[in-house]
């Protein structure tokens, strides 16, 4: 019944061109949210840069160089510009790069990012969920602060960025860029980008698929990584107070494009691509996390051709399968039990028979012995009787002989 989708010409103004505005109005009502992760060594200027970018004074405190492990500190702020409300979360690493052994330094960062993905996934999997109200804590942009050595990336930088490039949009920046001269900076940028490319690190590219912003984004992609200077202090330059750092040899102005790339960073990160950063996080990084997690849990995707008609049917099929399996196992168990009972019965019967035959044997032995004893007894009795007879005869004889002897004696005396 589904006809091919065909383009249709409208005979007048229908009015659905207001759809983007309807969407925008709703978003303004709801407010926006954005989460930035700053990774960099202690003292490199993460907090100052955030203060400068967002024109405010976030709660900052100096960290020590003696943290035993890398930690992450997240702080959320509600900002407003015109009628647009932004819930901004700034996450800073604490103690990054300070330990002697930095092999596990990336792990707390990866864990933090994964935890936010996991939290969103849990909400998505709930039975009663409220995604439109959910405070999205997933990291939308990761500013990686590169030390201004002027030579190349540090090994820690490479290792860390490699672990993060499939989880978050990485925007590398060269921190404290007021210590590098223009020519050194040019070489430094080229070296950094070539090291990233040759090691397969995927940093965030400003999108060039939308004609409205393709030109400015393409040009900015060529200036990466941005060399930034941050400052919340103001210095009088000309007749204006500007954000700057005052040195004996001159004043470095934060918002002067020939002094550093701060304006470029602000333009790209906030004014042009903030929404794209959020979208990439959701459609690319989060989806990757979700897919891996679900595969781990054992779910597989069936390809579209063999998808059954209804989810209920899929479920019914699995259930039938399981019930049959259960039935089979039950039958098996029952058979086994019957078998074992039979075996035991047979064993017991054998034992009984054996006992019976032994009993018979013993009985016979007993009877034989008894017979033998009877014979012996009889013989003994006969002996006794004959002995008795012989004794009686002997006694008689003795008596007769005595009497005869006595008579003889008497006869002599006369």
């Amino acid at each position: 019944q589904d006809k091919n989708i065909r383009p249709l010409n409208l005979a007048g103004h229908v009015g659905f061109d207001s759809l983007p505005d309807q969407l925008v109005n709703k978003s303004i009502c709801q407010g926006f949210c954005f989460n930035i992760l700053c990774i960099g060594e202690t003292g490199i200027g993460k907090s100052t840069l955030m203060d400068t970018l967002f024109n405010t004074n976030f709660e900052n405190f100096e960290s020590s160089h003696f943290e035993p492990q890398v930690k992450l500190r997240a702080q959320t702020y509600d900002l407003q510009e015109s009628n647009v409300r932004l819930r901004l979360t700034v996450v800073n690493t604490v103690g990054f790069g300070d330990q002697m052994n930095k092999q596990e330094s990336y792990q707390p960062v990866v864990d933090y990012i994964d935890r936010q993905f996991e939290s969103y996934l849990q909400e998505e999997l709930k039975i009663k969920r409220s995604l439109h109200n959910y405070h999205d804590s997933r990291v939308h942009a990761c500013l990686y602060f590169i030390s201004p050595s002027g030579h190349s990336l540090k090994s820690l930088d490479l290792v860390t960025m490699k672990k993060l490039d499939s989880k978050v949009n990485i925007i590398p920046v060269i921190a404290k860029a007021d210590t590098i001269s223009k020519s050194e900076l040019h070489k430094f940028k080229i070296k950094i980008m070539s090291e990233l490319v040759s090691n397969g690190v995927q940093i965030y590219q400003f999108p060039i698929d939308d004609e409205t912003v393709a030109k400015v984004n393409t040009s900015m992609n060529g200036h990466l990584p941005f060399a930034v200077v941050g400052s919340t202090e103001e210095v009088m330059v000309g007749n204006k107070m500007v954000k700057a750092r005052q040195y004996p040899w001159g004043i470095v102005q934060v918002e002067n494009e020939s002094h550093c790339d701060f304006m470029k960073l602000r333009e790209m990160l906030i004014c042009v691509n903030m929404e794209d950063l959020r979208e990439q996080t959701h459609t690319r990084h989060y989806e990757l996390y979700r897919r891996c997690k679900l595969e781990e849990m054992g779910f597989k995707d069936t390809d579209p051709e063999c998808k059954p008609v209804s989810l209920q049917e899929t479920y019914e099929a699995k259930r039938q399968e399981f019930l049959l399996e259960l039935q089979r196992r039950e039958d098996e168990m029952r058979q086994m039990f019957v078998q074992r009972v039979k075996e035991k019965e047979a064993e017991l019967k054998d034992a009984e028979r054996e006992l019976q035959s032994r009993f018979e044997q013993l009985k016979r032995l007993h009877a034989d012995e008894k017979a033998t004893l009877e014979d012996k007894k009889k013989a003994l009795e006969e002996d006794q009787v004959s002995f008795g007879k012989r004794r009686a005869a002997a006694q008689l004889l003795q008596g007769q002989s005595l009497t005869a002897n006595g008579k003889k004696d008497k006869d002599r005396k006369k």
Partner: protein, 369 residues
């Protein structure tokens, strides 16, 4: 005036970057605007009601095009035992750079047969199917190109010839109110005088309330809007349900060429607010609340469907222990009481069997001594 003018965007004008306090995130609404235009929009509108109430004509009038060329109309005999069909038409339309993929879902045969018991079933089945497809897509591993074919709004046409809601109307709206945004309309309103329309609307509103039918409610406009806007918003809300007239023909009226219906006694102009509520409907449906209709569908109706679906599966699962869920959902908490009892029973049976075996073994052992 709200009906004719462009919808007002609340996005702030571009800030001045040299100003002291400038940060720049006030451009976020514009960034969002730009991206949404690039992505394009989609909308699915369902029309339901008996044949001959002007559904197709109204859709053509709303979108200023002819979506139903060469369609075949059935005669009465053919409709005696007609079943309700679901037909879909999708078109791509564009206005001032904004692309819209519009799908119109029609329900020919609804209420036309002699016996209309459960004539709503094909409609709810269709709506559920779209929800289910979306649910499955959303739960899959690869979610790159999910299409949203869910029904965002259902225009229900009530005939103007009676006194109010009929049983079929009440039943249909009650069954659909939890699945889709229902917008009831008084069809062919050019057969009612203004007084009659007023009474009819009152009657309908009363009956809708009494029967507990939840139709689509316009959200309240923001308190910081100006008084003129708030007044118009009030008027819009008070004139529901809208009494509409549609037309496929263009006539000459008051020196202009307009969509209308030509009668011996005068010309009915579709877009004349004094003649009918067509303009209010168009404003609401397309110009001001189209996105809200989509949001309510996504945040309420779809979520309800999804929760119900999962709970049905979950209750089946708990009686069958350890069945693998075909879609990812959170592992369930404790199984219910019935299952517990069953498990206990089986455990005890096993224990008894073990004891019997042990006894027999012992007996044998004793006899050996």
């Amino acid at each position: 005036n709200m009906s004719g003018s462009r919808y007002r965007s609340r996005a702030p004008r571009a800030g001045k970057s040299h100003e002291k306090e400038y940060v720049g995130f006030a451009s976020l609404p514009n960034q969002l605007h730009r991206k949404s235009v690039k992505k394009g929009f989609d909308f699915t509108l369902m029309v339901a009601g008996e044949s001959g109430l002007g559904k197709s004509t109204l859709v053509n009038s709303l979108f200023l095009t002819d979506l139903h060329k060469d369609r075949k109309l059935l005669n009465a005999e053919e409709r005696i035992s007609q079943t309700v069909e679901i037909t879909k038409h999708t078109v791509d339309i564009e206005e001032k750079g904004v692309k819209l993929k519009l799908t119109i879902v029609d329900t020919p045969g609804f209420g036309d047969a002699v016996n209309n018991t459960e004539c709503w079933r094909p409609v709810t089945d269709y709506i559920n199917q779209q929800f289910e497809q979306y649910f499955r897509d959303e739960s899959g591993l690869n979610r790159k190109n999910i299409q949203d074919n869910r029904v965002h709004c259902c225009l229900y046409f009530i005939p103007p010839f009676g006194h109010g809601l009929r049983p079929v109307d009440i039943e249909f709206m009650k069954i659909l109110m939890d699945k889709v945004n229902v917008v009831p309309l008084i069809a062919k309103a050019d057969c009612l005088t203004p007084g009659e329309i007023r009474k009819f609307k009152e009657r309908l509103r009363e009956e809708i309330d009494k029967c507990g039918i939840k139709i689509y409610q316009f959200p309240d406009c923001d308190s910081d809007e100006d008084e003129e806007f708030k007044q118009q918003d009030r008027e819009l809300k008070e004139s529901t349900p809208f009494a509409v007239i549609g037309s496929n023909t263009v006539v000459e009226a008051r020196g202009q060429r307009v969509r209308g219906r030509l009668y011996p006694w005068g010309i009915v102009e579709v877009e004349n607010p004094a003649h009918c509520d067509f303009v209010k409907l168009r404003t609401m449906l397309i110009r001001t609340h189209m996105h809200d209709l989509k949001d309510i569908t996504n945040d309420c109706h779809y979520e309800n469907y999804r929760a119900q679906c999962i709970q049905t599966m979950a209750s089946k699962m708990s009686s069958d222990n350890r069945v693998e869920s075909p879609i990812p959902i959170l592992p369930l908490s404790t199984p219910d009481v019935e299952t517990e009892k069953l498990i206990k029973k089986k455990d005890e049976e096993l224990k008894r069997m073990q004891q019997m075996l042990q006894k027999m073994q012992q007996q044998m052992h004793e006899q050996d001594l």
